[in-house]
Amino acid sequence: MPITRKDVDHVARLARLALSEEEKAALEEQLSKILAHAERVTSLDTEGVPPTSHAIQLANVARSDDVVDPLSRDDALANAPAAEEHQFRVPRILEEEE
């Protein structure tokens, strides 16, 4: 099933990628081709086969609850594109109340 321009627009929005028209056109073709090649997998009979999320399973991984020095606030903010009053600064998220 080929990827449509509508799919590309939808997925780009989900992935938070502001793509150009040229990029979208190329992706429409390339993703269709990659997924067509993957039909060898999607058409497999996997009735009764359990999925593998990790090849080597570990259970109940815990470590001792030791107090250690955390990453300092200054270090944590050192790479921030914008910081103010010891916090990350971001554009407005919520609309102002009427």
Partner: protein, 492 residues
């Protein structure tokens, strides 16, 4: 007397241990070599000359004060620029991390430091380790030291090229679906993809978390075992690191392959190989046979679709991992009217074409309505690949194939069609999907282009000792016949 930079880490460790040479001598020699060929090879994004010299002095001071800095202390190392290093810019070869200076170090980098290895610098890679040629670096292309018009492979192309050209005695890379083994083969060096969980992923910039694994690039098998000994082991900072006491790999080299059962993987060693790769691989198998190994052919039918499983699973995990680059806490920010615009413009400007492609592919295969058809299906097919391995290891101790179906290719040859580039990893992805171990060992030059060929030796999860034993036996026997280690670039 050859130059110090030409020695293996094992040889240098011995010289350093007896005090015949100092860590400063070794580091200066390697740095001089690094500088003299870097304009040709372009292996490094960042060179940390001052840090390397300071560390070398510290190791020498410890030795002269009668303290033991450890068996490999003073042998300089290069790190793929995907391992974060405190106070040293760490980019993943992406514009989105161009100015990122981490406030902490990856466990692998910290263990190299604890072992006394002076850090030479951070090596080039395909952006976020996504690629097979290092052409996807946002900064520049790295050239193959054996022929500067060819790619070094990827994604750890900078580390492979640095070791091959003598710019580093050894280096670390990461392997998600071949990113250590394939460039090692293409550059004529040894590369190890350890069992998943053997080396901590803490501070390794994440690509596909169920597959990513760090490992060494070296000039011989002994060095690979020595470096793996230094970086392997459980880490409380990585919940997927394995809670085991691993044996010494450097102590696992001897013993040979007499009586060992080695299976040649039919699906990877037959059709579709470059002629010279086939010739050198077949010779390598006959060397193992002469050494006493019982050779047989084994079919693992699921390997036919390994690459498709990989390119459904890895991008899905990547799309999730790379959601963190949102322009808020670190990295690039491009302003927008609201937060969604800011996020979207930042990511569009900061990521290169291959990274965008994989994020799109992964997001699609995880999205509502397609999850079962793509990601869910691929996870089940992953189980079938693991079952094929289990069946094969019922009959054989190790499996072998060429590491790459071709030798190094030219710049631009595979960049037009993503799928063609993806198929470069066809021999490598099954081991990654199974979380198992594999090593690539040089097995000569292809007659038609005089470029290196590697044999891939695959082992069960945590059976690195058997893998190293076979790799070492092969190398010892093979070296006698063809002792060229450094490419022409080195001798000029």
């Amino acid at each position: 007397m050859s130059e110090l930079w030409q020695h293996t880490a094992g040889q240098l460790s011995a010289l350093l241990g007896t005090g015949e040479v100092s860590a400063v001598d070794v580091t200066e020699s390697v740095l001089e070599r690094l500088r003299s060929v870097e304009d040709d090879v372009k292996a490094f994004i960042t060179i940390t000359e001052d840090e390397a010299k300071a560390k070398a002095r510290k190791v020498d001071e410890m030795r002269s004060a009668g303290e033991d800095p450890g068996p490999i202390a003073g042998v300089p190392v290069a790190l793929k620029d995907i391992f974060v290093t405190k106070g040293i810019r760490s980019t993943a070869a992406s514009k989105i991390l161009e100015n990122y200076v981490p406030g902490y170090s990856s466990t692998a980098a910290a263990r190299c430091d604890a072992a006394g290895l002076p850090l030479l610098g951070k090596t080039n890679l395909d952006e976020f380790a996504m690629g097979s040629s290092t052409e996807n670096s946002a900064y520049f292309e790295t050239r193959n030291p054996w022929n500067l018009s060819k790619v070094p492979g990827g994604s750890s192309g900078g580390s492979a090229a640095a070791v091959a050209s003598g710019q580093a005695v050894w280096a670390l890379g990461t392997d998600t679906g071949g990113s250590i083994r394939q460039p090692a083969a293409l550059c004529g060096v040894v590369g190890v993809k350890p069992t998943y969980g053997l080396v901590s992923r803490y501070g390794m910039i994440a690509f596909a978390s169920s597959l990513d694994q760090a490992g060494p690039f070296t000039r011989d098998v002994r060095d690979a075992a020595l470096l793996l000994d230094a970086i392997a082991g459980q880490d409380p900072k990585d919940a997927t690191s394995l809670p085991i006491d691993h044996p010494s790999y450097a102590a696992s080299l001897e013993g040979g392959v007499d009586g060992m059962r080695i299976g040649v993987v039919k699906e990877l060693a037959g059709e579709g190989l470059q002629e010279g790769v086939k010739i050198r691989f077949d010779e390598a198998v006959s060397v193992l046979e002469k050494l006493g190994a019982e050779i047989g052919e084994v079919s693992l039918p699921s390997f036919e679709y390994g690459i498709d499983v990989y390119y459904l699973i890895a991008p899905a995990e990547a799309s999730s991992n790379l959601a963190r680059y949102d322009g808020v806490r670190y990295g690039l920010r491009v302003d927008g009217e609201d937060i969604v615009q800011m996020n979207s413009k930042t990511r569009a400007a900061g990521f290169g074409p291959e990274v965008k492609r994989r994020i799109m592919l992964g997001t699609y295969s995880l999205s509502a309505g397609y999850y079962d058809q793509y990601y869910g299906k691929a996870q089940k097919a992953r189980t079938l690949i693991i079952r094929d391995f289990e069946r094969a290891y019922g009959e054989f101790d190790l499996l072998v194939s060429p590491t790459s179906p071709t030798t190094a290719f030219g710049f631009g040859e595979r960049t037009d069609d993503p799928l063609t580039m993806y198929l470069s990893d066809i021999c490598n992805v099954p081991t990654s999907l199974a979380g198992a171990a594999a090593i690539s060992v040089p097995c000569g030059l292809a007659p038609e282009d005089q470029m290196p060929v590697g044999i891939q030796i695959m082992a069960k999860a945590l059976d690195e000792p058997t893998m190293f034993r076979a790799a070492y036996a092969f190398e010892q026997s093979f070296r006698g016949r063809d002792s060229q280690i450094f490419p022409e670039l080195v001798s000029r």
